[in-house]
């Protein structure tokens, strides 16, 4: 992993599927290229990537694909935190070997009510097993989905024992007070705090944070990256308000299915709407409503044609 740490805007890259639920590698590659072209890093295998609907083998193959096709590993932060520590070690090791800029690591999320000691051991065991100074772990706090959270005391203990390796966090709690506490307590020591959505991007940057890792980066990449690039300039608040308007439309619906529907519609590539079970795609009525609302606010995905697969 490179010495310069990832900052700015990353997106949990949507994973496109074919109608039979197999992964559409051509669409995935095109989408990743489009994000990189818009200066958005690749947090592949996040929640909004349907990462937990992919096997470890499938994730390895996708990482290999990106590496083979020459996408910049330094701008990749794959999700490698699985329920099974053996899976987390395998995926994380692979990401380090490929030179990824970092990994985004969920806590193991099947067993509920586990304590900090068990979560500490999970991360410590992974770090020790990999034993590579290039490893940079970004903790992933999304308690409303994982039901297993990462609190301040655990971060403090991990940072003390693994400085440099424990590189930062994505705070997807949606609780600004929690993000603020991390910004105040840990960011000064170089622990990079990423907001979990662009809704908190400007606030996070103004408090010294590193950027955001946001689902809607999949559809609104350029505008979110622009706020990160120009946040000290006049008009930043207006930019933030515009971002919030777009996000607000998508957020009314199940987010993953809504983003895939919008891409399918604007790219003219219906296969883009496929999600793996247990998720379901939007209904036709929901899709039409979404298209109408996006049109109503004048929103267009950047260069959607670039996302359509040749076979579409």
């Amino acid at each position: 992993m490179p010495n310069t740490k990832i900052r700015g805007v990353l997106s949990p890259v949507l994973t496109p599927f074919n109608a039979d639920y197999s992964i559409s590698k051509p669409r995935f590659l095109k989408h990743c290229r489009s994000l990189i072209d818009q200066d958005v890093g690749l947090a592949v295998f996040g929640t909004n990537s349907e990462a937990n609907s992919l096997s470890t083998g499938e994730k390895r193959q996708l990482l290999d694909l990106l590496a083979d096709e020459g996408l910049p590993a330094g701008k990749m932060m794959p999700g490698t935190g699985c329920c099974a520590i053996s899976d987390s070690i395998e995926l994380t090791r692979h990401a380090v070997e490929l030179g990824c800029g970092g990994v985004l690591m969920l806590p193991p999320f099947y067993y509920k009510g586990v304590g900090d000691e068990g979560l500490y051991r999970n991360y410590a065991t992974i770090i020790d097993a990999i034993g590579d100074a290039r490893l940079k772990i970004y903790l992933y706090h999304i308690p409303q989905v994982s039901q297993v959270g990462i609190g301040l005391a655990l971060i403090e203990r991990l940072l003390k024992d693994y400085p440099g390796t424990i590189a930062g966090i994505k705070d997807s709690s949606g609780d600004w007070n929690n993000t603020l506490a991390m910004l105040q307590q840990f960011q000064p020591a170089g622990f990079d705090v990423f907001a979990g959505s662009e809704a908190f991007l400007l606030q996070t940057l103004r408090h010294g944070g590193a950027g955001c890792i946001t689902a809607t980066g999949n559809v609104n990449a350029a505008a979110i990256a622009r706020l990160h690039a120009t946040w000290r300039e006049d008009g930043a608040d207006a930019q933030q308000a515009d971002l919030n308007t777009v996000r607000g439309v998508f957020q009314k619906l199940p987010l993953i299915s809504a983003m895939k529907s919008a891409i399918a519609s604007q790219a003219g590539d219906p296969a883009w709407s496929v999600v793996r079970p247990p998720l379901v795609e939007l209904t036709g009525e929901q899709s039409r409503q979404l298209d109408a609302e996006l049109s109503g606010i004048g929103f267009q995905i950047n260069n959607p044609q670039a996302l359509a697969h040749a076979d579409a």
Copy 2:
């Protein structure tokens, strides 16, 4: 899979680890043999097996080990429900090819608030992908852990579309009214309802159910199997009360760690106490307290020496 369906008592087999968290295959094999000898079936890879702390590859290896060593596949009901449908298909297919009596299938449990349509598609896609009449799926309802439950309407739809393949359920909700509703609505059609613990074994049998799949089968196998074998005889209620007393002692503590601690202590094999993160083993004080309480009720694991590993 055989034509005769599994009934009676099964146990989610504890997975023994070495100090470095690798799987102790010799201990696993001995424990499985001991359970079979006590007429308890092998629901390997259940919640209490720390199944979700094992990779798909590790689970395949353990299944292969049991098959290679000649344990009866017809008495195996491995847990094969994973977050990723690709993992569920791979593991389930492997279980069918080995001739397992059935598979116990969690719903995908990362995404929360998913609807019945997505859960239906998950099971239907797996069944269609495997396309083998030998497949027998037992649904696994444990909402307090998975946070994704399996309701009556979903069962009804699956049973209608996949009769014979949807073979039954383990109800670990702890809600007798839910178990009773399943017994009344679906058991008469041959959908086998297993109680999620021996605490409901007698009630379940008296209402026509198939048996129980219970964690404490790992430590109290013979007594639980005896109640199943003799439940129509006098003294069944007293047997049930005795089972509840033993379970009550274990249940005061984190159950997996407590059962492993008791085996470690009674077998004289400390390695048995190891659990994978995010779980943690009992403290020394908790272990001593457990030993004292078990001693106080005169409880002894059957033939604990058979569980100790030669290297211990």
